[in-house]
Symmetry: C2
Subunit: 280 residues, 2 copies
């Protein structure tokens, strides 16, 4: 047991280390107008508890009652859990710890590593017709600064409140996605931004993307004000227009299954993690 | 830190509890010819280490080198990691602990809970034309007794060796899937077994299913000896035959993405976890 205790303490130390400051965490905690941070800011940052990512907030490992939060998250990512309105109340802390700790970033990194391996494996035509579709929210940009103060998805979505946040154009980039974006530009695949955000949000969205270092895209496609259909209908329709115009969608990445389902999906799709909300 | 230490010790205790004996573990460890188990058998059972399910065997949480095994597993389940031949060598222990500990069962339970909720939400025609497609390996039957002695997928697939195991018809049922199977029978949805196993394995497969309490299916569809195409081609082709014959596929469940991709997929699909092998 002494050895096990030592290893458990080591785990705690590693987890605390991962939870410590970094560019991403700094970015998340800071309002857009503040450009620097101090040691004191770091000291008051939320402590990422070593146990929560595995157990879920209720500590209900093996219990028959309640929700096993890690199983729920896996269910979301594998598209077994669908049409959910909010994160289960008992999983708010779990999702918060997942998002703010190293886990979300590590899971995102693996997805992008796979995407970059795929890009490296392609025999490109290099004819300027090869494109890659990117979603915006929780794909190129992260709304964690918003969701961190709105229950990490455990409270019902508030359209007005989120629009106000989005208008500030202050969302940080998801660093992993930025790495893929830059890789594609370097090999001549044109990024296409395709988002369920409405046309009225075009300026704020483009401003936010540019502020975060995204540029060189072929086009930014937003949902027309009058569009009434589902996300899958909108996005697959827009992808069809690209194909009809002679483009080849070599890849497609988003955080929602509705980003990557629906013909034409693209030659290969990638699902980034998002346990905070579901768009059907 | 004292509190954290206490909680970590609690975690260890809970994990050890989960790893302790039960019908499932007993079933997994026992050869087919042994009908009972003893306290001594339990005592020599492999110890499931409390840390491994989270960290992966290399303990490379947050490390830039190597594979983050939990992220890799998520990547597999979300279909970001494709066409892999074996479990990464550094993740063999991780996958073993995942499969033999409570984690795999917990993840499977959530999938089946979702499936049963879906069944309860259906307005059934009750005309005898409603069917549900089940895969066999790692869906109705578990080959853990085989994989536990073959590196949990970290060693290359050995067709001959696996066939020899399958011929014994000794694989335990996945208890969660059995629960769904029985639920469907109770509401008049007919189970259809659709497997990539070959026709030559029909007798062993049916014997194994019956031994494990499965019965009442409409048909068992196996791959003809001469079939050369992919799993998706075979399975979607067989599902098309069902639809052409007037059946409505209300659900479809498997452990591989190739079980549930390809038109007609079925009205709703469910992906059970399987970090041990990939069938494209």
């Amino acid at each position: 047991m002494a050895m096990a205790t030592k290893m458990l303490l080591l785990l705690a130390a590693v987890a605390l280390l991962v939870a410590s400051s970094g560019a991403w965490e700094t970015n998340i905690r800071m309002p857009a107008s503040v450009a620097t941070t101090t040691a004191m800011d770091e000291a008051v940052a939320p402590l990422i508890h070593a146990l929560r990512p595995m157990l879920g907030s209720g500590g209900q490992l093996g219990s028959r009652a309640g929700v096993a939060c890690d199983s729920w998250r896996l269910g979301v990512e594998a598209h077994n859990v669908r049409d959910w309105k909010t994160v289960p109340a008992s999983c708010e802390s779990y999702v918060g710890h997942y998002m703010l700790g190293g886990h979300y970033r590590r899971d995102s990194k693996l997805v992008i590593d796979e995407a970059i391996s795929y890009v490296d494996s392609l025999k490109l035509a290099g004819n300027g017709k090869e494109v890659w579709v990117f979603d915006v929210d929780e794909t190129t940009l992260s709304n964690l600064p918003y969701y961190a103060t709105h229950g990490f998805g455990a409270t019902p979505y508030n359209w007005m409140s989120f629009q106000e946040y989005a208008r500030q154009a202050s969302a940080p980039a998801l660093p992993e996605t930025k790495r893929l974006f830059d890789k594609l530009l370097s090999v001549g695949i044109k990024p296409v931004i395709l988002t369920g955000r409405r046309e009225v949000q075009r300026t704020a969205t483009v401003t936010n993307l540019r502020r975060q270092g995204f540029s060189g895209w072929m086009t930014v496609m937003l949902k027309p004000a009058e569009f009434k259909g589902s996300a899958v209908t909108f996005k697959s329709g827009e992808r069809q227009k690209l194909v009809d115009a002679g483009y080849v969608i070599v890849g497609n990445i988003g955080d929602q299954w509705s980003d990557i389902l629906g013909t034409p999906e693209g030659a290969r799709t990638f699902k980034l993690p998002d346990p905070m909300y579901y768009i059907g």
